[in-house]
């Protein structure tokens, strides 16, 4: 078989057993891989109304036919499960080495079911699948967990240095163990399947980590065609200024761009600009301050990752990031301006295993509550105005559920409601909204509000591209971009490189060369739309309706940035129409028939 392995590895944690199944042909044909397959399996195998942290939830690590194929920036895997934060279907995407190794081990999908009676970690070396007690690992931060597992595997498997550093490990830190609802799954020294709180799902299953090392192969259908296409892509990228910038700065070019255009999340979204960020408007400054080396995910020519270092003995020698989202949410949004402080906040979240975006909106919410006098100092034990580095204490408290952290671990809605001001939590469907201020671009507001997984920016494209600012067209673009990203997430391709309209046609090129099954752009549009609608049906069944396609009142009522608010209600009418949904945001029978999903819609539409 080309591209796919055609195998699912299913691990029952309750029983401590594993088995290998054939990957059904219809999944390859209609859902391709990654996010599409994840959504389909969740829809088929779990009741969307279950408790996301109960044993009935399933945790799916899904690669796609392109993962590990050598297609540029196709290292990636999707993790699918019901989210304990938004209660929606979740599909965060992660880079690093894990996805390719799962693939080279001979599987396309890895599904965890049930709940282990004791903490365990799982190792996969091709067909050697083992479940080990994780007692001594429990409580360890992410990087220590990885180190310990590498040491174990080095002896157990007799690996040399190269074999060892081929390995990929997905793991959780203390936040996941303690079921913090926005805990992330960490991987390979600072990569994350960050959004949606799937680290807590892993924790709820008593699964500390899963390590994969594969020595098998991905077969390519049309080797010559594929090689030519990749070389062609390289040549195009070489002459493209955007790409050169990506390679040099990763996402470090964005804080300045967002700040200077007054579009940056700042001070709990009260502003679009932070004085303290002016100095980062030239990204060379950030490079000079903290960069150690450029770091790519497996098989990625663009190396947007940057390893960094700060002069503080308490923090690891080098670490990954921070990315723009983290700089904005834990930085400008919390009133921090010092790059070393921002790095500390980033390291803390990564090591404790928490999503930096939602964590940033939690802290900024607490800061505003504190400054407005709604959150008394005695509840915290310290002052917490914007910019106060006591937020590092609070981050640790959340991860360990100590003091007020116990309540905050339940998410922003529970926390802000307890203090009487739910409107001060800047989230959609319980998930904190990302770095670009939606009042700067209506398209962003619409995107955040309608995203199937909650307030996320990686399920559509960015609003600066052609047409995305044009009031007459951006709603249509939002719908189309969402569908296209759903298809790319099924490849699985990296959003960082492929989110722009520029490289969209590459997906069909790579898929056709690698799998030997020709897929046109139209096929992929249909694939994306099918996935998007299936996810929507899952959410509707889970009780998440069109009413949740909402933005915080600060965004729709208080003109904070560019003296504008997002006219969400009118945008939604237009959007639902483009989607072929009714006025309540429910897919119509006609639309579902087009997508061959009418059976799936029964009882919902």
């Amino acid at each position: 078989m080309f591209g796919w392995n055609g195998k699912i590895l299913r691990i029952d944690l309750t029983q401590g057993t594993s088995r290998v199944e054939d990957l059904p042909a219809y999944l390859m044909k209609y859902y391709v891989g990654g996010r599409g397959m994840g959504a389909r399996i969740l829809f088929d195998e779990i009741d969307p109304r279950i408790d996301a942290l109960g044993p009935a939830n399933k945790l799916i690590f899904a690669t796609g036919p392109l993962t590990g194929s050598g297609a540029p920036a196709a290292s990636r895997f999707i993790v699918s499960a019901k989210s304990p934060l938004s209660n929606c279907v979740a599909s965060p995407c992660c880079g690093g080495y894990f996805g390719a190794n799962l693939k080279y081990s001979g599987y396309d999908l890895l599904i965890f079911e049930g709940k282990s009676p004791e903490p365990v970690y799982v190792t996969i070396l091709n067909d050697r699948v083992e479940i080990h007690p994780a007692g001594p690992l429990w409580g360890k931060v992410s990087s220590d967990t990885e180190k310990a597992i590498r040491n174990e595997m080095k002896t157990d498997y007799g690996l040399d240095n190269w074999g060892l550093n081929c390995m990929g490990i997905a793991n959780i830190g203390p936040a996941g163990e303690n079921l913090v609802r926005f805990a992330s799954i960490m991987s390979d020294g600072g990569r994350a399947a960050g959004r949606s709180g799937l680290g807590a799902v892993m924790g709820s299953k008593n699964l500390k980590a899963v390590a994969a090392l594969g020595t098998g192969q991905v077969s390519i259908a049309d080797v010559e065609g594929f090689r030519k296409a990749v070389m062609g892509f390289y040549a195009e990228a070489r002459d493209n200024g955007e790409f050169q910038k990506r390679r040099r700065y990763g996402t470090w070019g964005l804080p300045g761009r967002a700040n200077s255009s007054k579009s940056q999340a700042a001070f709990n979204f009260k502003a679009g600009y932070s004085e303290a960020f002016v100095k980062y408007e030239n990204p060379e400054v950030i490079r000079d301050l903290i960069r150690v080396r450029d770091e790519a995910c497996f098989s990625c020519p663009f190396s947007c990752g940057k390893r960094s270092r700060i002069k503080d003995a308490e923090y690891p020698l080098t670490a990954k990031g921070p990315e723009h989202e983290t700089m904005a949410l834990l930085g400008a949004n919390c009133g921090l301006g010092d790059m070393e402080d921002i790095c500390r906040a980033n390291y803390l979240c990564n090591e404790l295993g928490m999503d930096t975006i939602t964590a940033g909106t939690m802290i900024s919410c607490a800061m505003e509550l504190f400054e407005e006098g709604h959150l008394p100092e005695k509840d915290l034990g310290y002052a917490l105005e914007f910019g106060n580095t006591n937020m590092f204490i609070l981050l640790r408290q959340i991860a360990h559920r100590q003091g007020i952290g116990d309540l905050m671990a339940e998410g922003g809605i529970a926390f802000a409601t307890k203090y009487g001001h739910p409107e001060l939590f800047m989230g959609v469907k319980g998930m904190g909204i990302p770095a670009w201020h939606p009042q700067a671009f209506d398209a962003l507001g619409l995107q955040y509000a309608t995203c199937n997984t909650g307030g996320s920016h990686t399920k559509s494209t960015m609003p600066f591209y052609e047409g995305r600012k044009d009031p007459a067209h951006f709603v249509e673009f939002t719908k189309k971009d969402q569908d296209y990203i759903a298809a790319a997430d099924s490849g699985v391709l990296c959003w960082i490189i492929y989110h722009g309209p520029l490289w969209g046609e590459k997906l069909s090129e790579w898929l056709t060369h690698v799998t030997g099954v020709a897929r046109t752009k139209e096929d992929l549009d249909l694939l994306g739309e099918r996935i998007w609608n299936l996810e929507r049906l899952f959410n509707l069944r889970a009780g998440i309706t069109g009413k949740s396609d909402a933005l915080p009142p600060r965004i729709t009522k208080e003109p904070r940035v560019k003296n504008r608010v997002v006219p969400l209600d009118t945008l939604l009418v237009d959007y639902y129409e483009w989607r072929g949904w009714d006025k309540n945001g429910v897919p119509t029978r006609k639309k579902l028939e087009e997508l061959a999903l009418e059976k799936e819609g029964e009882g919902v539409i």
């Binding site: 050598g70 540029p72 007799g158 550093n165 077969s219 450029d294 098989s299 190396s303």
Partner: protein, 122 residues
């Protein structure tokens, strides 16, 4: 012709391993590659497979590179009985870089987008 390696530029992306495997086997499997990249925190080291040796040498030890300890066997290019790299995974046959045939057309260099690998004339 030589392949010049600049470890300071290398990003650890391993596209070179993929290119080598694809070029020699028509499938993608880094374990069949004649170039192996050792990924470190501070820097990465691409190493290209050299000649086969029948016996392991006894000069093993630690070398210092960029202020970091590096296992000498990591830098050594030999396919040797003491280590598992540079061997076909199924057959154990030693692997050696052949510059991708005659005339040389090193795929790893072409696939190394950051130019950590470049072709230089002798």
């Amino acid at each position: 012709m030589k392949i010049r390696i600049d470890h300071k530029i290398c990003t650890g992306c391993k596209q070179c391993e993929i290119a080598c495997s694809l070029g020699h086997t028509g499938s993608v499997n880094p374990w069949r590659s004649r170039i192996r990249v050792f990924v470190g925190e501070e820097f990465c080291l691409p190493v290209i497979a050299g000649p086969y040796t029948e016996a392991a040498c006894n000069s093993k030890g630690i070398r210092i590179a960029e202020g970091v300890d590096v296992d000498a066997c990591v830098i050594c290019r030999a396919s040797c009985p003491a280590k598992s790299v540079y061997k076909e995974p199924d057959t154990g046959i030693p692997l050696k870089c052949d510059f991708c045939g005659d005339p040389p057309n090193p795929q790893c260099v072409l696939w190394c987008a950051p130019n950590a690998l470049t072709l230089v004339e002798d």
